[in-house]
Point group: C2
């Protein structure tokens, strides 16, 4: 592998953030340039007139070392004084916690958006406070919040996920307006310039799905030098979250090979050149290979910085194993 691959990561929330931390560490050790991470904005929402971007913030806080690692989301050391007050007013969503420090981010963002800044400009500005070691881009500047269609009605993804804990059977996930959306400035260029595009082990349906649904992104990925995905499913179970419910809803089994098949082989018009699978799933490698996707077996549990870097390194190496070297 060339010692300085240019890397793009497609990522969602906490899983994507962990993986991105690993990529940052692996690239720094190689002396490679900073990666560009293209972050899902389908989770974004308006709440009490304030714009929230859960995935952007998860990646931002993790890269900045400001994330709450115990709780798994939000800012370390956060409090909820404003949120308690909001609820005393009967406003907001009682089942959706807004941390005070987190609200500082939301208010800064909302003010900048109301001032006319684009989402890309806002994310860039948010990226300036701490040295992140990664360039962050939103997938699009358009508002394409994910909605969940259920037998009980249509609701914002966050309501379905946080309030209902994904217990209401989803019939479909939709991003109204995404047909008219465009990739954020720099997204196409980053993909075209990359030696390797990594698909983080984020939720394939509601984290990676919206990124791929932005018109122009799939086309850009078809022209990419190589695309390697990382399984977020290990031993038939999702590593975190409730991605299995999302996969089931779109008719994909919660199995590493099934997710790879869902993404599809680039040689067959799909997404992936290679698929990094957990050791537990080695037996599924032939099925992945049969789909035209190069299977790579690696330990996939990201429990700390070292293991996250190891997963990233294995993913970067997957390109090498497949074609020998970058550039």
């Amino acid at each position: 592998m060339a010692s300085s691959p240019r890397v793009v990561v497609l990522a969602g929330g906490v899983g994507g953030a962990k993986f991105t931390l690993g990529v940052r560490a692996a690239l720094a050790r190689m002396g490679a340039p900073e990666a560009t991470v293209i972050v899902n904005t389908g989770d974004d929402l308006w709440l009490s007139g304030v714009r929230l971007q859960p995935d952007i913030d998860s990646v931002l806080y993790a890269l900045a070392g400001q994330n709450d690692t115990e709780r798994g989301w939000g800012r370390a050391g956060d409090t909820e004084r404003v949120n308690a007050e909001l609820q005393a007013w009967g406003a907001g969503w009682p089942w959706f916690t807004l941390g005070d420090l987190d609200l500082g981010t939301h208010l800064a963002r909302t003010g900048w958006l109301r001032d006319g800044m684009s989402v890309t400009q806002v994310v860039h500005r948010l990226s300036q406070r701490w040295p992140l070691g990664v360039r962050m881009l939103p997938m699009t500047d358009s508002e394409v919040d994910t909605h969940v269609v259920t037998a009980e009605g249509r609701m914002h993804f966050q309501e379905w996920w946080t309030r209902h804990r994904a217990t209401i059977t989803p019939l479909a996930f939709e991003n109204p307006g995404i047909d008219q959306a465009q990739p954020a400035p720099g997204v196409r260029e980053a993909i075209a310039d990359a030696d390797i595009v990594l698909v983080a082990p984020s939720n394939p349906v509601v984290s990676i799905g919206p990124i791929l649904a932005v018109p122009g992104v799939r086309e850009a990925l078809r022209g990419a030098r190589r695309v390697v995905g990382v399984a977020g499913v290990i031993g038939g179970k999702v590593v975190r979250g409730m991605a299995d419910v999302c996969l089931t809803a779109i008719g994909v089994e919660t199995r590493s090979d099934a997710v790879a098949a869902h993404y599809g082989a680039r040689s067959a018009g799909g997404l992936l050149d290679a698929w990094v699978m957990a050791e537990e799933d080695a037996g599924l490698a032939p099925a992945v290979a049969a789909r035209g996707i190069h299977p790579v077996i690696a330990p996939l549990w990201m429990s700390d910085a070292d293991t996250s870097e190891a997963v990233a390194r294995a993913t970067l190496d997957a390109g090498t194993m497949m074609r020998g070297s970058f550039s």
Copy 2:
């Protein structure tokens, strides 16, 4: 005086809130119905995408007993965690403090406004949390934020007042869009139904001024049974704030009789039937009377609940002294 006068108060911020507390106490002692307070919304502003209504909140918090009496503004026991974070982002106004509890109000309000509620509906909803003993109405549902024209440019009133402490000479105060505004629902009716309309000792220029500038309010007041104003100027000085700078800007001397003349006699197409002046200003009473306004001398320092009630009582009695009794 009839034992149950129906009362309307025109009020701005902290001075208006203190006076309204006094009116509430005086009316309760008389067994009279709750007063209606029509509050200035010219101080309102958008800050970091959030809608603030300083005068509405000052009156609300004071009536609810939630105000910070030591500091003189905001919520008692408030903190500034979110504000510190906002400033760390380089967002918001560094010279404008947003309390955390206060932000709960701002966010609830902003969410309701974004949901399509009118300002009147929002104020009504804000009024439901604590028993206020007073009906609150905004002067208008339209956004007519006060701007200050200065030689250094035009700025929002809050910037001029809070950031510059009124030290930049104002050339004019304007409320863009107020020509197209209407009184909030209920404002005209409350004035028409009132036995007495009280003009609180608030800033005549930027608190009472915008209320009077809403098309239809002056007409309604011309049809009112009686209108009594209370001087916020005592012994040639303003009781609080920087109203003298505002008065000077519009060519009015900081003297009780000059403010009365600025409001004008109803008999001459102006606002006032009577004007309650401080004992210190008794010597100016003839000048007020010469303008066709009935002068009433009373102690006007509102230092606690008792003195505020006494001022309110003197103001209510002014109607009696002038015409004998309420109908």
